[in-house]
Amino acid sequence: MATVGPLGRIARLGSSICRNHRFIFNRSSQRRGIASCLDPAHGLTDEQKEFQKVAFDFAANEMAPHMAEWDEKEIFPVETLRKAAQLGFGGIYVQPEVGGSGLSRLDTSVIFEALSTGCVSTTAYISIHNMCAWMIDTFGNNEQREKFCPDLCSMEKFASYCLTEPGSGSDAASLLTTAQLSGDHYILNGSKAFISGGGDTDVYVVMCRTGSKGAKGISCLVVEKGTPGLSFGKKEKKVGWNSQPTRAVILEDCVVPVTNRLGEEGQGFNMAMKGLNGGRINIASCSLGAAHASVLLARDHLLVRKQFGETLSNNQFLQFKLAEMATKLVASRLLVREAATALQENRPDAVSLCSMAKLFATDECFNICNQALQMHGGYGYLKDYAVQQYVRDIRVHQILEGTNEVMRMIISRSLLTES
């Protein structure tokens, strides 16, 4: 039966002389298991395959054995995150001269997809952290880049992204947090909701209103933890994403120097939208990883579980269901990777493609994980089995980084405003 026993790397590498050992290793390394039609390495360059291999190895050794515990005990795995940063995962698409790895959006998608098989929640946090680091790298001046990026890339410091407020989620441009200019600083007042990492992170990239109503009045300020007037709400209790704390971020007469503003006043919303394009690909990639792991878990379960005198894998309905799951997974993956390439090349269809990829991949992958749970029968509902955690963790991907409804808005707008 498919169990999630944490066998360490040493046990896995033990002498291969005894074939029984190999059988046990196969069971524990299911998420690394291979099915060639699903192999996420297809179509990648040799170098991308190397990146993917490191990410898969890291996920299998450093994340997968702990993902259940991190979820149950709500542990923010600082040590593991820093180990990931040492390999270059802290600023994957940040420029090398400020400590990043300088890779492409496609490389990034491949990496997050692989890491996600080890723990979706932790990988999703890494992707949010990456987005913040990228924002400062791309829109900040040299002083800001040199001040913040190296520490973020090494994860010496952690970052959070603050856009959503209690009163503005999908309608992000209506945000109310104000930043009043006063000499050489801004005074911030307002609150942000659902902030990933909030309270435990060091650097907050905050979208706030410096001008009048609407998108054009929004600017981006970097607020550091410890600034007087910066406080946090209670830690939210969530269905999933439990390895990252989520809190409200409260700003009460919080004083932030003008030198912490990225770009000019009024450019904040633009930055947010650009950041979200990449963020959407990253979140979709995390969903891909969870779906990949779930399909393999389901497949392995079908090969082992017997009812009515034979293994479930002989049941045509389940065979067809598995085939559908695999097909939707590969379709999702192709769309996400194409969106990543389009974004990298600044193609005119990049924004729509990122929205389509986020919409399609997060919806389909949730269904895949959910069906994988169903295939496990009663066992799928037990926390001893990883598949339920994948389901719980990726459910929120259909909601954040722009709800899938907003994705439809973006796509339909692009279709209907074409002349």
Binding site: R32, G33, S36, E50, V54, D57, L87
Partner: protein, 254 residues
């Protein structure tokens, strides 16, 4: 002393893959199957890179014998910190028949050509479990060998090697140049970092043929048949010790 270490790496079927025997029982299925570096070879590369970082040696040269795909394995070693690679091109039937004797002849020839101070290999490959290449290489070179090494220390022009043996641990001191084979607990291989993977692209991989090294790779062995291990029979659950004794008597074991 050239300060050069030669590390042999083998491309094998990934340890997580379920092995299937070909229908004609000639060998196992390798087409389309995921391959990676032999885990013990990873440990060997890690040890060599650590020695370089501690400045005991100057250059790590990685060798792999096989078809074009062997270069992937060399690239992985380069991404871990090796300096350059040598791909010994062996393809087709020659590759199918390539065994420890042939590889050790190649390694011995390269060790002489590269004036290596040390040859580090994994103790065995997880596909054939031969555990012969290191020993044969040492014999061909007439060099001392420290096999099943779980700890290696350079002391001047000698090496102290702690070996894992059936009875426990054995410590030996051998002269260099020598051959070491890496056992499981020698070290924990590092992950390649993203920057190192990119740097590895620029490192050199030379391609040579066994004939260029004066090595004859004809095999003296012929594989007759490959079979799957027998399927595990279902066990029987017994209620009492008396039942157990009866069953054992029935089976003729007591």
């Amino acid at each position: 002393m050239s300060g050069r270490v030669l590390v042999g790496v083998k491309r094998v079927i990934d340890y997580a893959v379920k092995i299937r025997v070909k229908p004609d029982n000639s060998s196992v299925v390798t087409d389309g199957v995921k391959h990676s570096m032999n885990p013990f070879c990873e440990i060997a590369v890690e040890e060599a890179v650590k020695m370089k970082e501690k400045k005991f040696i100057k250059e790590v040269v990685v060798v792999s014998c096989g078809p074009q795909q062997a270069q992937e394995t060399i690239r992985t070693a380069l991404a871990m910190g090796a300096d350059r690679g040598i791909h010994v091109d062996v393809t087709g039937k020659d590759y199918d028949n390539l065994g420890p004797l042939q590889v050790s002849k190649i390694m011995a020839a390269l060790a002489k050509k590269e004036e290596a101070q040390l040859v580090i290999l994994g103790k065995q490959a997880i596909d054939d479990d031969c555990n012969q290449t290191g020993q044969m290489t040492a014999a061909l070179l007439d060099w001392p060998q420290g096999t099943f090494a779980s700890e290696v220390t350079l002391e001047g022009d000698k090496m102290k090697v702690v070996r894992e043996i059936d009875g426990g641990l054995e410590t030996i001191k051998i002269n260099t140049p020598a051959v070491i084979t890496a056992d499981l607990r020698l070290n924990t291989p590092r992950y390649a970092t993203l920057p190192n993977i990119m740097k590895a692209k620029k490192k050199k991989i030379d391609k040579v043929k066994p004939a260029d090294l004066g090595v004859d790779i004809t095999s003296r062995l012929e594989v007759l048949r490959v079979d799957e291990p027998p399927h595990r029979e279902a066990g029987v659950k017994l209620e009492t010790v008396a039942d157990l004794v009866d069953k054992l008597k029935e089976a003729g074991t007591i």
